[in-house]
């Protein structure tokens, strides 16, 4: 598929297939189109040509059908984007109640299980602003999981966090990967890429430049762009 912002060609002839259960880490310099790729997959951004299919079903263009398919794609944002006027528990139950039409008691029970799983069960009745960044991001992960998504997208989930909170979020994501969730993760955390990823995709200027396993990519990047990028990232 292709994506333009006006005259700017931000995603160029992207052809990507992610099998069920695979954990893909997307790397690339700033402006290479990583966020845009994530956002097009659940159509927060429309694409200009091509198709995006999830579990064999094409994403519809607009309206109710699109909302329905979006529910199958979990998204975790850099800025958490928890609903500021709702408690953590309400954040996690909103989707199941309004989109999946789950019974309230069942939705709450499952939400508490998910909060337990991401380690913030005791924060359920607080508002997002009362939580630390790391706790907010884990709540956001629980909110996405509550929809029982088929795939989870992460757009730099740890970039807005203080360093001491990065690990708790990465641990949550690593657990998720081990449990077999299909994941597409944009991140600069090379430790996570090495440990949890099945596949690394390197993007530059809107194109997929390399597509390989973490071992091959980190040991022997094929392109100059990737070597250059790794050099900059790893010396930090």
């Amino acid at each position: 598929m292709d994506k333009f912002f006006g005259p700017l060609h931000v995603l160029k002839d992207i052809n990507l297939e992610v099998p069920r259960g695979q954990v893909v880490v997307v790397l690339g310099p700033s402006g290479s189109g990583k966020s845009t790729l994530c956002r097009t997959i659940n159509r927060l951004e429309p694409i200009n040509s091509g198709v995006i299919a999830i579990d064999g079903k094409d994403l519809p263009a607009e309206g109710k059908a699109l909302a329905g398919l979006r529910a199958d794609v979990g998204m975790v944002f850099q800025q958490f984007n928890l609903f500021a006027h709702k408690t953590i528990l309400e954040n996690v139950t909103l989707g199941p109640l309004k989109v999946r039409r789950t019974e309230k008691a069942e939705a709450e029970q499952r939400a508490r299980q998910l909060l337990e799983r991401v380690g913030i069960a005791n924060q359920a009745d607080k508002y997002p602003a009362q939580l630390s960044g790391g706790q907010q991001q884990r709540a956001a992960i629980a909110r996405a999981l509550a929809m029982k998504p088929k795939v989870m997208l992460f757009d730099e989930p740890t970039s807005a966090l203080d360093p001491e909170m990065v690990q708790e979020v990465l641990d949550t994501m690593t657990d998720l990967a081990k449990e077999g969730m299909t994941m597409l993760v944009v991140t600069h955390e090379m430790g996570f890429a090495r440990k949890a990823a099945d596949r690394v995709i390197f993007m530059a200027d809107g194109e997929v430049v390399e597509d390989s396993t973490p071992e091959d990519f980190f040991k022997a990047p094929k392109s100059d762009r990737a070597r250059d990028f790794l050099g900059k990232i790893l010396t930090h």
């Binding site: 398919l69 979006r70 800025q79 984007n81 609903f83 500021a84 309004k98 989109v99």
Partner: protein, 215 residues
């Protein structure tokens, strides 16, 4: 005091009509304004353009011209004949809705875009996103300018007197026909308007307090 008491029939009749004009056009413009605001934030470009065309045209037209149109020009179109009172309510509604729309829209714009994106990402529809996420967060910043808009509407009802609707704005002329002191009579009109605005201001305070606790 004599002017007020001796002509209480005028004052009562005038202000009852003023309140009717106000109540009907307040409800009408809140509904129409909310609808227009939905158009203006809709994902469909044609709807957005229609909304902003309405606001641009109506907001830049003097209210008297809007009145002229509904009081005189409308019946020449021979669609549905309307009375002067209906014309006044329609003119006030059509005009105020443009301002109400902008109040809603700027309230909506105070809510960070990430909130709507997260709502869409979990599969909420446009209406659910607006109703569950955006409007509850926009409400607080909507109240103060909304009350100002309604106060302006209350005062704008006095234009109807110029279009054959006897309301508070017409009291002065009737007083002078009866040979009563006009200035004193007018001061009473002003005083009653102030009294009418007070509950609106109190409502605004109460709502603001309630919503600041709820968050």
């Amino acid at each position: 005091m004599d002017v007020l008491l001796d002509n209480s029939d005028l004052y009562v009749r005038g202000f009852v009509t003023t309140l009717q004009l106000f109540a009907l056009s307040a409800v009408g413009s809140l509904v129409l304004g909310a609808f227009l605001a939905m158009l203006r934030v809709s994902p469909v470009p044609v709807f957005r353009s229609a909304g902003s065309l309405y606001v641009t045209v109506v907001r830049n037209t003097p209210l008297t011209l809007v009145f002229l149109f509904f009081a005189f020009a409308w019946n020449l179109l021979e669609i549905v004949r309307i009375s002067f009172f209906t014309a006044a309510v329609t003119a006030l509604t059509v005009y105020t809705a443009a301002f109400v729309c902008e109040v809603f829209r700027s309230g909506i714009n105070t809510v960070p875009v990430g909130q709507a994106e997260a709502a869409r990402a979990i599969g909420l529809t446009f209406g659910q996103t607006l109703g569950q996420i955006i409007l509850p967060q926009a409400t607080r910043s909507v109240f103060p300018p909304m009350v100002s808009t309604l106060i302006a509407l209350l005062k704008n009802t006095t234009i109807a007197a110029g279009f054959s609707v006897f309301e508070a704005g017409g009291i002065r002329q009737n007083l002078s026909e009866r040979g009563e002191p006009v200035l004193e009579g007018l001061l009473w009109v002003a005083a009653i308007f102030v009294l009418l605005v007070i509950p609106l201001t109190l409502l605004q305070r109460a709502l603001e307090k309630r919503w600041s606790v709820a968050r």
